[in-house]
């Protein structure tokens, strides 16, 4: 799985996987694969949120993007 996946993308994929799993009409092999992938996505989301540093704040001044000092 690509680690570049954004939180939103990962969460959306995870939601789809859970829906498919809950549907029940699925091969067991497939289910186990989806489950593992879901767990990985969940961990990815978790890590993204947990490890997020402070929000990146920029300032748009004179059409130039600058660092913003509080």
């Amino acid at each position: 799985m690509s680690k570049e996946k954004s939180f939103e993308e990962a969460l959306e994929e995870l939601e789809t996987l859970v829906k498919e799993l809950e549907n029940g009409d699925i091969e067991l092999n497939d289910a186990v694969e989806k489950y593992n992938k879901g767990m990985e996505l969940s961990k990815h989301c978790h890590t993204l949120l947990k490890d997020a540093e402070e929000v990146i704040v920029k300032m748009m001044e004179d059409n130039q993007l600058k660092d913003f000092d509080e």
């Binding site: 995870l14 799993l21 809950e22 949120l49 402070e54 704040v57 913003f68």
Partner: protein
């Protein structure tokens, strides 16, 4: 000679003395519009009275303010009575109000209500125009003063809730006469740059004048036409501006705006946990169902008693053989032959029956004919009288002088009617 320097206190006391002893300032009747109104917890009113060109600080002590029957608020026009004096600590002169009456709503308030009504009628506040705020914004444009408390509140709140997003501050004038044009310009810029997926437009609390740019029509129209959704977060909880109504979402404060803009980390953790539990349960359920299906197959009778299969097969074979025999062509031909013989016999029987029946029928009809033949009756001496070929059945069929034909069993003769005698039923 040494210059005499006054102390600030001495000068202030002198000025205060001048105010206090001026006859005109001892009893002042004043009209103006309330602004910056604050109701102190001890009951005093602090406010500014203003008109188009000037303003004056005012205070009304609790002993007097408790007699005011209405609830003063910013934008209200009032008439007051009071006296002028100086508050030495701040060096401020102010009017000490003793009586206050309401004279109507202030001009700003009227303007606000008018614009709100017009824009609402035009449909600018309609729910159907509201754009969806993205669930996980990637970059939030913050339009406010880069030095105010609002921008810090927003950054801190986003940091706390969802630091995966980014913030781009667009320094914006949020009060004063140039603010409205600047706000419009910055909204246009955010749309042109198209780096951000949501806008928080706002500022901290202030007087109705301070917040006024957010009640300007050009600001309202720019918010309306922005392609990027806008969250309006102006002033405090109780402040409502035109911007709030036209924006895609209204937040009570800048902090509230940030809370609406991004999801909460804590809630997301909880949600992830729920999804994990759901996956676990789904997989468990799936395994259980598969196990049950497997068990059902494994426990099937066939695995326990394989002879059953051959028995069942043998039964089926017998049945089919039997059926085959019945359906064989030779058997059918034999059957058909038998059927034919039987039919021949039936046909012979039927022919004789019909012949007998017809003979009997003929004899019967012959007999009947004999009985009804009119010749049989005339044999006994009766005659048949006709007039112009028609049988006469009633006295009414003839008149005197008619020529009639009388038929007998062995001949006929013509006769003339000599007289008529009608037999009535009464006789």
């Amino acid at each position: 000679m040494d210059k005499q320097y006054l102390t600030v206190t001495a000068l202030t006391k002198y000025i205060k003395y001048k105010f206090d002893n001026d006859a005109h300032l001892k009893n002042v009747l004043l009209k103006g519009e309330i602004s910056n109104f604050k109701h102190h917890s001890r009951g005093h009113f602090y406010l500014t009275l203003k008109d188009d060109n000037a303003q004056i600080s005012a205070i009304m002590f609790a002993s007097n303010s408790k007699k005011v029957k209405f609830k003063p608020e910013d934008g209200m026009s009032v008439t007051v009575e009071g006296y002028l004096s100086v508050y030495e600590r701040t060096g401020q002169y102010q009017i000490y109000i003793t009586k206050m009456n309401e004279t109507g709503l202030g001009n700003l308030y009227v303007a606000f209500e008018q614009l709100k009504k017009d824009l609402e009628k035009e449909g600018l506040f309609d729910q159907r125009h509201k754009k969806q705020i993205p669930s996980f914004p990637k970059n939030i444009a913050v339009l406010t003063s880069p030095t105010g408390a609002a921008v810090r509140d927003i950054i801190h709140t986003v940091n706390r809730r969802f630091p995966l997003t980014q913030i781009t501050v667009y320094p914006t004038l949020v009060q004063g006469e140039y603010a409205k044009d600047n706000i419009v310009e910055q909204i246009k810029k955010v749309n042109a740059n198209n780096r951000c997926d949501v806008i928080i437009l706002g500022r901290g609390g202030g007087s109705i004048e301070d917040l006024w740019p957010f009640n300007e029509e050009i600001v309202a129209r720019e918010i309306f036409s922005s392609n990027i959704p806008i969250i309006s977060s102006v002033g405090h909880e109780t402040d409502f501006t035109i911007s709030d109504f036209v924006a895609d979402l209204r937040a009570p404060t800048p902090t509230g705006g940030a809370e609406i803009a991004v999801p909460s980390k804590e809630e997301l953790f909880k949600y992830l946990k729920t999804l994990n539990t759901q996956s676990d349960n789904a997989l468990k359920r799936l395994l259980k169902n598969r196990k049950r299906s497997f068990k059902k197959v494994r426990d099937s009778i066939i695995f326990h008693d394989p002879m059953r299969i051959t028995e069942a097969m043998s039964n089926k074979l017998d049945y089919l053989t039997q059926k085959l025999k019945i359906l064989a062509p030779i058997a059918r031909i034999e059957q058909a032959k038998k059927d034919l013989v039987s039919l021949d016999k039936q046909l012979g029987n039927t022919y004789q029956d019909i012949l007998n029946q017809k003979t009997n029928q003929f004899k019967y009809i012959l007999n009947t004919l004999k009985h009804v033949n009119p010749l049989n009756i005339m044999e006994k001496g009766y005659s048949l009288t006709k007039k112009e070929g028609k049988i006469i059945k009633s006295i009414n069929d003839i008149t005197q002088g008619d020529l009639v034909d009388v038929n007998l069993k062995d001949g006929a003769f013509k006769a003339e009617v000599k007289s008529l005698r009608k037999e009535t039923e009464d006789e």
